[in-house]
């Protein structure tokens, strides 16, 4: 997943978390980057017609941006599910975030063929819990 798609996904999740435009600070926290980096990338995404930015309020996805964010979140969900259910990784959220930049969409699509993902994905993604609400996670180690 490329950097732009990671930003679009973060904006989508921040909009859901805040029930409104995604604030720069929230995006910086979600992405683990500086607010200046967020502003620079949001500006680029705005130029591409993927994001609308309102001063002092934050960033909102356009229809095209929303479509790409959905796809990016589906890819992320595939990686989380694969890690949790196939490789049985306990820290699947952290590892999915670390791996998403290296896993290409075509690879995620192949991994998707051996996992159980709902048709409504990514609507069932729980932004507060950072994973699908239907994901059965491996038991915590004792």
């Amino acid at each position: 997943m490329n950097t732009a798609d990671q930003y679009l996904k973060a904006i989508y999740l921040a909009q859901r978390l805040e029930d409104g435009p995604a604030a720069t600070g929230t995006l910086a926290d979600l992405l683990g980057v500086s607010p200046a980096s967020v502003n620079e990338m949001v500006g680029k995404l705005e130029q591409q017609g993927l994001v609308e930015h309102q001063k002092y309020k934050g960033a909102s996805l356009t229809e095209e941006g929303l479509e790409r964010a959905h796809h990016a979140l589906q890819t992320y969900c595939i990686i989380e599910r694969f890690l949790a259910n196939v490789l049985e990784v306990e820290a699947f959220r952290d590892e999915a975030r670390a791996l998403e930049s290296v896993i290409d969409d075509t690879v995620a699509e192949r991994l998707d063929t051996i996992i159980d993902r709902r048709a409504e994905c990514p609507d069932c993604f729980d932004a507060d819990n950072d994973c699908c609400r239907y994901l059965e996670v491996p038991p915590a180690a004792e």
Binding site: A98, L99, E100, V102, V107, E109
Partner: protein, 164 residues
């Protein structure tokens, strides 16, 4: 969230190699069982050329898996057994409808594997991390596998073009 495409730890390298092993297991499983999954009339229609292609693909994936497993073993980690992935493929993966479907599926698998190794090599090359396994050995292994995946894509493409 990591925004750089680089492999920054032993742990991350291990995880990516484990993913590579699963991709090989999917290729192996799909190449080994198309005959069983096809309808009877389509099964008989698979000619010697396609059978050989699939047998070679399954054997090559098993061999790639073995090379990756050696690296993962040296990183003190485990891999998902082939039987487990084979069962998931059987349970979740829709069977191809005909010989063209088998070939197209095989092409997608080979292309995906090539793309995966290409990205992984790039991410390792972009990293300055000292892994506990020899970096050059990892890269040499991945270069060789990537080259064979590229040949695999070409072989499937050639067969598809001859049949078109």
């Amino acid at each position: 969230m990591s925004l750089g495409q680089r492999v920054s730890s032993d742990h991350q390298l291990t995880r990516l190699l484990q993913i590579g092993i699963v991709l090989e297991e999917v290729v192996e499983s799909r190449a080994a069982h198309p005959l069983e999954s096809l309808p009877a009339d389509e099964r008989e229609a698979i000619d010697a050329e396609v059978r050989t292609l699939l047998e070679d693909a399954a054997a090559e994936s098993a061999e790639h898996r073995g090379r990756l497993e050696t690296l993962v073993d040296d990183l003190d980690a485990e891999t998902v057994p082939y039987e487990e992935i084979n069962a998931l493929v059987d349970a979740r993966y829709g069977p191809p409808e005909d010989t063209d479907g088998v070939l197209y599926d095989q092409l997608c698998n080979e292309e995906t594997a090539y793309k995966f190794y290409d990205d992984l090599i790039e991410a390792i090359e972009a990293s300055e991390t000292d892994f506990s396994v020899d970096r050059e050995r990892v890269l040499e292994t991945l270069y060789a596998i990537r080259a064979e995946e590229k040949e695999g894509v070409q072989e499937v493409t050639d067969v598809m073009e001859r049949r078109a």
